[in-house]
Symmetry: C2
Amino acid sequence: MATISDVAKLAKVSVATVSRFLNDSGYVGTKSRESIENAIKELNYVPSEVARSLSTKQSDIIGLIIPDIKNPFFPELARAVEDTAFEYGYTVILCNSDENAMKEKHYLEKLTKKYVAGIILTSIIEQENHWQNVKLPIVALDRPIDSKVATVTTNNQKGAELATSYLLECGAKNLLCISGPKNMTSSQTRIEGFKAALHRNGVDAHIIESPYDFEIAEKILYDYLKANPSIDGIFACSDASAIGALKAAHRLKLRIPEDIQIVGFDGIQVGNVVTPSLTTVAQNIYLLGQTAAELLIKQIEGQKLAQESICIDPELIIRETTRKERSE
Amino acid sequence: MATISDVAKLAKVSVATVSRFLNDSGYVGTKSRESIENAIKELNYVPSEVARSLSTKQSDIIGLIIPDIKNPFFPELARAVEDTAFEYGYTVILCNSDENAMKEKHYLEKLTKKYVAGIILTSIIEQENHWQNVKLPIVALDRPIDSKVATVTTNNQKGAELATSYLLECGAKNLLCISGPKNMTSSQTRIEGFKAALHRNGVDAHIIESPYDFEIAEKILYDYLKANPSIDGIFACSDASAIGALKAAHRLKLRIPEDIQIVGFDGIQVGNVVTPSLTTVAQNIYLLGQTAAELLIKQIEGQKLAQESICIDPELIIRETTRKERSE
DNA sequence: TTGAAAGCGATACCAG
DNA sequence: CTGGTATCGCTTTCAA
């Protein structure tokens, strides 16, 4: 691998001049410029980002910490982050935390060691403040972590209200809400929205908890629906549990949407391919990722954006698990 | 940020000693050890990987270049790579090439600049040899690129034969094969397998081409099945096109598997959630990724594995788009 | 068992 | 416009 001084030697100039040429900083004469260009060609020279990082204490690497890329919500998010990073000349390191605080900490430290430029984080740790030590620019994605940290989320409350009202509008009388894990703020907020919408309509309802996993949700819902046949409308806090509910209903020979209607939350691809296709509150996943990346890059590049938080509206996508019947 | 010399100063030893301590290389006296440990605690010292990289010319970063993380095949693959990397102390940079040679080249160069330790690559460029310049350890994943490069693939031929024979066994008489893009070796190999199985059985069949995208496949298949109602068995070279076929058949009011049977290829999650659930030749995606990562790390750590190539057997997963009827 | 000092490959300040 | 050189933080001989 050729180095900058090889280039300098061959071009018969100093390394300083080559460096200036490389970074378009300061003057470089036409002759110098030319011979440097040739030398670079000839030596097949590629500057070392590592050396540059060491001397500038900066890098163009962004760390992305998410629970699990296998979770269908995250590929699109990761893609959006990567696209945006690419556009601005950054590169992304992918870390799967498995919702595990130890792993999250491990990665945080590891990324710090690498002088990453900044971190985008869907954190499991919503209460502790172990990122206080992290001096880097951070953006919290999907889950807020600290009021001082820039955050990008979906308007969960609004989305849940949208879903719930629509279910009611479609004639559902006996509602069930499938919440996510209790420690997830987003799930809690969705439940708030659910309750608010019910309250406005004077209806009462059940709430049960299930992880965002369609097989587990299917089991839980199978038992629950069997025991509570009067339920005719379900709002699930995730598409995964909505699909679980759909499968459970299938097994119980309930017709969808005639006997029971279902609305999910997230807007992942599978919802569209399942039969009947899932009515859902779709988060704008790509925009979420893109916005987070842009916010981070702004911070990295110096613009202080004092506790800027961005909340993105979701959108109700009506498909086949609900019936529009204007409640007569 | 504290540096190694801060630690040395505080611990009243030399940086060399601290370095030896950090890397467990060479002797460090008990007293030195102790004071170094304290100094590190006190200063909250974290070694800089960048500086280390610069002096050792090594790093613990692995580059992973794939077409698109949104493609349902890749999240699990990426996860396997990341898990394995994590286990061995490496970190992975994710790059989406979009099947675009320019982007692929860009990333290859970018990764080189960063002194990545090695690269795992699902390449679009199967003919050109632009990786000849890349001096780094490389493993080709899913798609072979060069006989000199270690490769991990699924046994596509065998998988296709498995699928085709099974379709025949289930009584299908009039087969259609949906191939992938012509320039993909894996798709070509699957077609070989399809033909081989047919040949053994003296049956003839149609082959059409479709991208690995279920919406496009649905359109193509809708027209094709409409024009060729005699087709009663489909082998798709990807689950995506299989699902497209399934949807098309649905729209044509064909009953599955009574009127038409379908077998896919890949074994992605959605196949299981679609209705009826998809019979498919499942690649062992996780193992694929894990093996590639292990092969790469072995190379990185010095073991020369002259053109080692690993071919992993897929497995037929029988679900609901086929009917087992032992050919009457 | 320890430390001094020479790199690693760039950047950037300061003279010229 | 250009070049010398200190510096970034760590590793690695080589002597002591």
